[in-house]
């Protein structure tokens, strides 16, 4: 996986986001409603797309888009 692809899929997943609107350095809470519902939509998305599981605690620690990518990517790579 790569971050460009990762971002493109997130932009498709969330209605609030326009295509090409997210950059790796963007702070999540400034870009869209990072509430519990959107958190669940994100969990579902990465589960189907990358087959990884993320906890609430891990999600809360992610501040930027890059953080989120690193979190998912690390789990994805470790999956073997």
């Amino acid at each position: 996986m790569n971050i460009t692809d990762f971002i493109k899929k997130i932009e498709e997943e969330f209605e609030d986001l326009q295509p090409n609107s997210l950059a790796p350095s963007d702070v999540l809470t400034e870009k869209f409603t990072w509430d519990s519902i959107n958190a669940l939509i994100f969990l579902a998305h990465v589960n189907v797309e990358y087959d990884v599981e993320i906890t609430a605690e891990e999600l809360i620690k992610s501040v930027t888009v890059q953080d989120l990518y690193d979190l998912v990517n690390t789990k994805y790579q470790n999956k073997g």
Partner: protein, 354 residues
């Protein structure tokens, strides 16, 4: 591993009963319009039924069962087992099954007891009644499942209130040596007992005048007391996404079946996002996965039979089908069953005028 089969059991009929009052989630004014619309879209619940205070799950199950027995023209004196699966009993003691045995005019030779399970309850209930009937002594039985969840749900809890609806169901089970075996895979993880919980009112946290009824702010948009259902959304979500798919795949493998052998997959109606994610994980055709969430919400152990009655009645009435039923949630408890149906008696949903 609890993978096993139960032969000689046939489902003769399935019925469901819901309270008359319909709650529309578009009127849920505890949250903003924007949040409400996102929520409705995500959980997939537009409308649901709410029982009035004083109506019990057993009242709904009684109507479903009483009518179903008449539809089947069953002789009540031949019904020798009644199992009531619910987490909203009439009384702390005694068990509710006995009250239903009497109300339905079933004989005193009838076994009657309660099973305390929710989302997984229908599949577990089928395994219990099937196992008790398979030896051939008992020829007719009733599995009654359902819950009234709305009474214990805080209006000011956006994580729970819009989700739950009330319903009661009845399934008529008969001994039939010509039927294919029901194939089960049942599982449990009690470490997640607090992921869905009503903490007070049992023996662990006995009802306390000062603390049990006190509303507390849990987080933004979530206020509840200790008699209200508390849901840890992410925990339940991750559990379901982790466990349901392997449970189903293992069951199919064990009996050398594939997804293509199944005509319909009927899942516990948890919420749309969760159910759709599981459907995508298993790569199932949406046409094979009926939903009743939109009109009835999450109805706990009633959700699988209610979905059959609401969405598949014509199919199960006129055809021989292979179904896979899967329930998952509170406990944490989950399980799936593969079964064959033939011409199930399946009357339209009954409305309880309370």
């Amino acid at each position: 591993m609890a993978i096993f089969q139960v032969p000689n059991i046939n489902i003769a009929g399935i019925s469901a009963c819901v309270p008359e009052y319909e709650y529309n989630n578009h009127n849920y004014d505890w949250i903003s319009e924007k949040e409400r619309e996102t929520l409705i879209k995500t959980i997939g619940v537009e409308k649901k039924r709410h029982a009035h205070k004083g109506t019990t799950t057993s009242d709904l199950c009684f109507v479903a069962a009483d009518n179903l027995i008449n539809e089947l023209s069953w002789d009540r004196s031949e019904i020798d087992i009644l199992i009531f699966v619910s987490q909203s009993r009439d009384y702390i003691i005694p068990a509710t099954a006995g009250l239903l045995q009497e109300k339905l005019s079933l004989p005193k030779s009838c076994i009657a007891f309660d099973v305390s399970l929710g989302c997984s309850g229908y599949v577990y209930g089928l395994s219990v009644i099937g196992s008790m009937m398979t030896t051939g002594i008992i020829k007719k039985g009733l599995l009654l499942t359902g819950d009234i969840s709305t009474l214990n749900t805080s209006y000011k809890d956006k994580s729970a209130f819009p989700l739950f609806g009330d319903a009661g169901t009845a399934t008529a089970i008969e001994l039939d040596t010509s039927s294919s075996s029901m194939k089960f895979n049942l599982q449990t993880d009690g470490s997640g007992y607090d992921a869905i919980i009503i903490p007070d009112g049992g023996i662990r946290n006995f009802a306390n005048e000062e603390t049990s009824f006190k509303y507390e702010k849990i987080s933004e948009g979530i206020f509840r007391n200790k008699f209200n259902i508390a849901l840890d959304g992410i925990k339940v979500f991750n559990f379901s996404l982790r466990e349901v798919k392997p449970n189903i795949n293992k069951l199919l493998q064990e009996f050398e079946l594939t997804i293509d052998d199944i005509d319909y997959f009927i899942f516990h109606q948890a919420n749309k996002l969760m159910n759709e994610t599981i459907r995508k994980q298993l790569k199932l055709d949406p046409k094979k996965v009926p939903f009743s969430l939109k009109d009835y919400g999450n109805t706990s152990s009633a959700s699988i039979p209610l979905t059959i009655v609401a969405e598949l009645a014509n199919k199960v009435k006129d055809n021989e089908l292979t179904l896979l039923l899967s329930g998952f949630g509170v406990g944490l408890s989950w399980g799936s069953v593969i079964l064959q149906t033939k011409n199930i008696v399946c009357p339209s949903i009954y409305i309880y005028k309370d």
